[in-house]
Symmetry: C2
Subunit: 223 residues, 2 copies
DNA sequence: ACCTCCTTACGAACGCTGTTTGCTTATCCG
DNA sequence: CGGATAAGCAAACAGCGTTCGTAAGGAGGT
């Protein structure tokens, strides 16, 4: 239809694009997925909606990705890309704290990540973060099984705190009140909870740092 | 049809049951759900399959439960019922360790639980477990914000370790090998991982206990 | 013994979901 | 210009959670 002799100079701008209107790529799919996830949550990401968001038919996505789960895995690794792995404080302990805080913060910025945390991650950014974690623990002087054990403990702690935080914040104000009432109205059965849970407009970040400090204290090798 | 004059003595045993063949209850539903979940995993639990397992139509379930998610929440609380909350070691620390180990073990016994951990739990058994946790920490001498902070840290750690363990064990042998190869073949990019991850036929229980010890060391109030 | 009430059960349908198939369409190369 | 090659996609499929109107069957009054 185009590209004939009657083509006039300047028509480049009229033709859709020299290469098929910007080609669908895995990267574009993942970015669009993250936009949808951030804007409307994990449940809102359906193949059809994602395709629509890309101005594309649903079946087209399957040319670039094998399943929807693939998209989620890629999206999560993209979140891990936000974690700064180099950040020189000199002090290994300060740096480790920074790494884990950044890890947690990145996940909290994308609450839908909680739904995907429960499966093995092997993406490059995720592995880069873990490499950094191991390297810092080595700097700290850990060796043998102590090192993976420490990495395991710290990872568990971060993952768990993200999960609980998101679970708590994703229910609305009224549900939280109802939960608090539920406990305090059964103070006979839950006496200790009734006392301490009411004081629970906690500063999550401070609590996280506190627990992390405890862990790091325990992990530091005996001297 | 029955119950007429032609009814003969002894026929009680032939009639289905005096009260409608044992009535469907929320409890029966939850137990059946756990059976299906344990036997075939989280994905296999569909409303129709659950109904079939109960010898009942799918729509019937909605007379006893508002949504499928309700069933999952109830099932998870049922798992928490397996956690012994009283178990006198005298020593608070030993008891706390026992409680958290039992908590983790119960969840690991039902790997589908990992899919549900990411939402607020308010069931009676879950609350009983948490009350026990708070009570033990109070016994340990914690007060003020230290107490919920410690509970938070310990919970995070348990939840996280369950999640990671299940994520890892749910992929088959070949996938685990592929993952290990993937890392060790990129030892230029992941030097520390390549060294320590290969030694990773870890004893998960020992690692868990190690981390827990670290946490408890850090949590114990200064004297 | 019959009729009525009322709880309980459920087949069928609705609007979704992720994924596959086979055809159409657009671009590139000779 | 023509034929090859790749990309895009409507339609269909099987299955999902959930709703609705209807049917079934024991309880209680007459």
């Amino acid at each position: 239809m185009a590209r004939t002799g009657e083509e006039k100079p300047g028509n480049v701008w009229l033709r859709p694009s020299t290469t098929r209107r910007d080609p669908l790529t895995r990267e574009r799919i993942v970015n669009a997925a993250i936009e949808v996830l951030d804007a409307h949550g994990a449940d809102a990401l359906t193949v059809r909606r994602l395709a629509e968001h890309l101005g594309v038919g649903a079946a087209t996505l399957y040319g670039h990705v094998r399943t929807k789960e693939d998209v989620l895995d890629l999206a999560l690794d993209s979140v891990y890309a936000e974690v700064r792995t180099r950040d020189d404080h000199g002090d290994w302990r300060a740096e480790l704290t920074g790494l884990l805080r950044a890890w947690r913060a990145a996940l909290l910025r994308h609450p839908w990540s909680a739904r995907i945390l429960g499966r093995p991650q092997l993406g490059p950014h995720m592995l880069a973060r873990e490499e950094r974690l191991y390297a810092l623990l080595a700097t700290a002087g850990l060796t043998g099984t102590e090192l993976p054990d420490a990495a395991y403990a710290l990872s568990n702690y971060v993952i768990g705190s993200v999960l609980m935080r998101i679970a708590w914040q994703e229910q609305d104000e009224s549900a939280r009140h109802a939960a608090a009432d539920h406990v305090s109205s059964r103070s006979d059965r839950y006496p200790t909870l009734a006392v301490y849970r009411t004081t629970r407009d906690t500063d999550w970040d401070r609590s996280f740092d506190n627990g992390l400090r405890c862990l790091l204290d325990g992990i530091t090798p005996a001297r």
